[in-house]
Every structure is written in C-alpha cells, then in structure tokens.
Subunit: 222 residues, 2 copies
DNA sequence: CCAAAAGTGTTCGTACTACACCCATGC
DNA sequence: GCATGGGTGTAGTACGAACACTTTTGG
C-alpha cells in the first residue's frame, strides 16, 4: 500500500526529552538506535506521527511505547524543521519534554526490545540527528520554568524531604540555593504540605516528609 | 507529477500572527481567503512548507509573499497538530509571530492579489481553522515576553517618544503603567537613548525623541 | 560523645508601588 | 492666557540575598 500526493509532503515525528533527577544528577533517557541511520548510536525516543493521531497524542504514545512511561508531565518544546536534519527524507520534528518523578523507578526498560538508558546530562554520548540541540533547549527551558512556575514539582515523588526538593532544584537549574531562603520561598507558594511522617536515613536527625498539595496544577509564579 | 510514500504523510504549513500597535490598538494582519475551505473568511497568512525549505524560512517567505513584509522580528510560537484542524487533509501548522514597528507602514497590501487588512485584536471577525486559538496564544506570549525581555522594542520605529513607547507597552500587554515608574524602568535597562531631537505635535510641550541603542538585540530581563 | 544532616531568624539592600505638580508649546 | 500633553522626585513597602548556630538521631 502506498500513498500519493500532488505535492511532496514531509514526514513528521515527535521526539521526547525525558528528564529526571536521579542519584543527584539531572538525567535524560536515551534509546540505542536499532536501525539506520545512526544505527547503534544513542538518540531521543520518538517516532512518526500517525495520520489520524493528534501530534500531542503521538508524544504520549511514544513515551509509553519507547520508554514504558505514562501519566507524567509532558509539554511541547519546539519544532525543528531544518531540511537536512534527517538523511533519509524530509523530517520535521515536534519536540516535547517530559518530567519524571525521581523515585518512581518503575522503569521497565522500553516495551519494545530497544535498549534504553539514563544518562547524566553532563556525560552524554554522541547523539543522533540534531538531538543534542533539542536536549540543550529542553535543559534551558526547564531551568527557566523552574524559576517562574511550579513545574519543578513534577520531578517529585509522592513524598519527599525538603533537602531532596532543594537538590532537585539545584540540579535541574544548575544553580546552588541557600537552604533557608529556599524553604521560605517554597513555603510562600503554598504548594507543599507536611505529611506528618518522618524519614530516617543514617546517623542524623530524621527529615520531615512533604507532599505536593495539588499534584495536577502547574501554576505560574510572578 | 505526483509524490508517493510508503506511509501516509501529513502536510505542514506555517501560519504567522503579524502584530503591530497602530492607532492606539494592538492589531493583527489577516488575509481574506480566496479558495475553499473557508473561502471569503479571514485567516492568518501562511502556507505550505516546501520540501526543500527550512520551516523557519517558510515563515520568512510567507511573511514576504502574503504581507509584503521582511526584516522584522519573527519567532516560532507553537505547533498545532490536531487531526481535524483542516477539513481538506491532515495539516500540521507551525505557528510564528512577527512584530512590526508601528510607523513603518510601507505595507504594500500583499504581493499576490489577496486582500489583507489590519484588525484590532478586540474586534475580530470569525477566523478560519483554529486560527483564533493561535492568535490567542500569540497575544498571551507577547504580553508575557514584554515583561521579561526587550522584544517590545521590536514594535518601535526608528525614533519614538516615551509616551508612544508607553502606549505600545500598555496596548500590547493590556495593562496600564504609571508614567514615572515606566520611564525609570525602561531607563534602568539601558536599551534606549535620546536622539537629541524633539517632536512637536499640537499645542503643548514637544516630546524628546529616543532610539533603540542596539536594535538587533533581544535581551532577557531578570 | 561524635559525626552527620535537619531545622530555624534576622538584617540589609534593592526594586517595585503609589502618588501630584510644573513645563513648554500652539493657538 | 489657556488648553494640552511632556516631563520630573520621593516615600513606603515587599521581596530577594547574605549569613551561623542548634537539634536530633545512629553508631
């Protein structure tokens, strides 16, 4: 079966920058390509938009199919449309980024037989296509948005300590924060609340556990 | 001549929200459609991405061809990819917005025979496709960016008065500003300078004329 | 009792807000 | 001389930045 048009049509894909903070580092999920071009190289998960599928839905589907992830924060990032960005044919890519809670490491490694792995964004292999450009933009966008919205909480598991929260903010924005000022700031937003539980880990004072008050909401600040 | 693919491909267009402040109002340039669908209705200028043309270049070209405008600020806005957004075939639209200096009204009305007209964003006709959604997003984005970057200056002609500048900011963000505070703010950014000239208009004190110091730059504030 | 991370307040500077009157010109 | 928009300063407030010690636990 083939499809014929009066004018040439580009192919359209979505590529997804899947980010999380793990082991004290901002990490991105990459897939080892099983086919040409760039066979054997690492790339962002993604795939072609189906003809009867909304572009947003395509991103949701690829997230599930290639990374086994669903129900997470997903936002359109930018559309990459240079003519030569794919050697096969004209491919325009609508890039998204997804934020994964840190501890929910239920990561079945990709539903299909592809090889998936978390990489620190500071120690990346060579990426296929223009994917390092896409990743750079995602990092920039995330860092900016963590300062003027509450997206950062999408990187949090159900319950977390304030130290962990601060660590996530520092790693995702690549900027150190003062402990007392950070706590004053996050409390002033009224977005987290104490669970009443404590979390003991090691020979020191246990930390109070917090939760996000309204996990659905992403609010703009200022 | 026809083009055949193994899988169905969507068509890709760019649509451009061309904004300016004119006669004390934020205005958008619309084109009256000469063909079905939505024949005779107003729509954003735009058109299909050519197979050997970068998506960004397509936006630049459409801006020139449909509105006779070039050399202005142009930025990608968002990609609209709902399946049913075009009744003809599957069309994915990469939307851009352009900012036109207020007085440079050298607007030859569209190079092709299309009918182009400026509309106040407060008195819009019914728009074709999902174009009112695109326009809404452009308005929101512009208003936000005027507060945290210097894009607003892209709406300024070569020389302008402070009152005019303030008016543009008020109309583009739909928020009133205090005259003295606005002036302190804009001066603190070091982005405009006095030309030394004055501008007399009417029976009152003439206004000093200013220019943008670095017209190319768009800097983020904060 | 010692090591380790958790928790907690105050001071200072700066940037935003609110606000009202004199100035220069054309007619 | 009067009507019209152009131009200017100050005081109060709120927010972000800098900064160090005490608390609680496990071993």
């Amino acid at each position: 079966m083939t499809y014929t048009y009066e004018y040439p049509h580009p192919a359209v894909t979505t590529d997804i920058v899947i980010l999380t903070v793990m082991d004290g580092e901002l990490k991105v999920l990459l897939i080892k390509r099983g086919t040409e071009p760039f066979k054997g190289q690492w790339a962002l998960p993604g795939g072609f938009v189906k003809i009867d599928e909304n572009v947003d839905n395509c991103a949701v589907r690829e997230l599930q199919e290639e990374a086994g992830i669903s129900g997470v924060y997903l936002e359109q990032l930018y559309t990459f449309g240079r003519v030569d960005r794919d050697p096969r044919e004209r491919v325009i890519s609508v890039a998204y980024y997804a934020l994964i809670p840190g501890k929910d490491l239920t990561l079945k490694a990709g539903t299909d037989a592809t090889e998936a792995e978390w990489f620190s964004v500071d120690e990346l292999p060579d990426l296929s296509f223009d994917h390092s450009e896409i990743l750079d933009l995602a990092k920039t966008r995330l860092a900016a948005k963590m300062d003027y919205s509450t997206v950062g909480l999408k990187l949090m598991p159900e319950e977390f300590t304030l130290s962990y929260l601060q660590d996530v903010y520092e790693k995702a924005t690549d900027k150190p924060r003062d402990k007392r000022n950070f706590r004053k700031w996050i409390f002033s937003l009224d977005v987290i609340e104490a669970t009443g539980k404590k979390y003991s880990k090691g020979p020191h004072r246990p930390a109070m556990l917090y939760r996000v008050i309204n996990p659905e909401e992403v609010r703009n600040i200022r």
